[in-house]
Amino acid sequence: MSFEIYHFITSYNYYIIIFLMISGLFIVVSKGNMVKKLVGLALFQTSVYILYISPGKIVGGTAPILADGYTIYSSPFPHVLILTAIVVGIATLSLGLSLVIRINEEFETIEEDELFNNELNDE
């Protein structure tokens, strides 16, 4: 049992991630408003960043910019990946938002319930 408690305390970063991730995913799958869905999607993606970054941290380490006087650096590898992921995230977001603008123009609503029931399913 003590191992479990120890484990829980030392891995708290993962539980933060999981909470944020689930909230983001929940917004995406449960909300009908398209803008809100995209916000949720952004949250979902953002929470993944910590999943990558947090294991790269070393206690007592410093940012991976080499300088005299420091010997322990946190891992630069995940940082690079997440930089790419952020870029992909904003690209997706902007494309999604532009689709929302057009959808709003064409259908005058951005609520999914109304749209999908009326447009896509009745043929």
Binding site: H7, T10, S11, Y15, I16, I17, I18, F19, L20, M21, I22, S23, L25, I27, S30, K31, N33, V35, K36, V39, A42, L43, T46, Y49, I50, I53, S54, P55, G56, K57, I58, G61, P64, I65, A67, I72, Y73, S74, P76, F77, V80, I82, L83, T84, I86, V87, V88, G89, I90, A91, T92, L93, S94, L95, L97, S98, V100, R102, N104, E105
Partner: protein, 162 residues
């Protein structure tokens, strides 16, 4: 952060949602700073809190400010989330504790980057050297993603010439 997330879930006013997501991004940037990811923190602050907020507000200018009440409630989303969450807890259980230095992430390839970067590329910021050189092809992909998105947005939003 948890509070802002809950706020985003509960609030129906989209303006507040966007502002909350900006706050979330700033908090995220701070957190990333704590994790020593300075480059990422800078980017997240500029992108998450800057550009995406501006874009979302522009969209809100065109659309309605309030989210409508969902007509029916479904348990399915909750189930999906619980399954994913359960799987994540299952999967992360037993992973190396936070802040440890002897985990595979640190001992395998990162070490090589840290040791080789200055000699092979002459760049002290290891993030830059990995980004631009060791994994330069990823960065090329990333630029192509931005390119694709920009061309796509232009094609979607440009009015057709009559």
């Amino acid at each position: 952060m948890a509070l802002t997330t809950l706020g985003i879930i509960r609030l129906r006013n989209l303006f507040s949602v966007v502002i909350l997501s900006t706050i979330y991004s700033f908090l995220m940037a701070t957190l990333l700073l704590i994790f020593d990811a300075v480059d990422v923190a800078l980017t997240e602050a500029a992108v998450g809190a800057g550009i995406s907020t501006v874009l979302m507000l522009t969209v809100l200018y065109y659309t309605k400010m309030n989210e409508e009440k969902p007509r029916y409630r479904s348990v399915l989303p909750l189930i999906i989330c619980l399954v994913v969450g359960g799987l994540l807890i299952y999967g992360t259980y037993g992973l190396p504790p936070f802040g440890a230095a002897d985990t595979p992430i640190h001992t395998h390839i990162s070490v090589q980057y840290l040791e080789r970067s200055i000699n092979e590329t002459g760049v002290p910021n290891v993030v830059t050297s990995v980004l631009a050189s060791y994994r330069g092809f990823d960065t090329l992909g990333e630029v192509i993603v931005v390119f694709t998105a920009a061309i796509g947005v232009l094609s979607i939003l440009k009015r057709d010439k009559v």
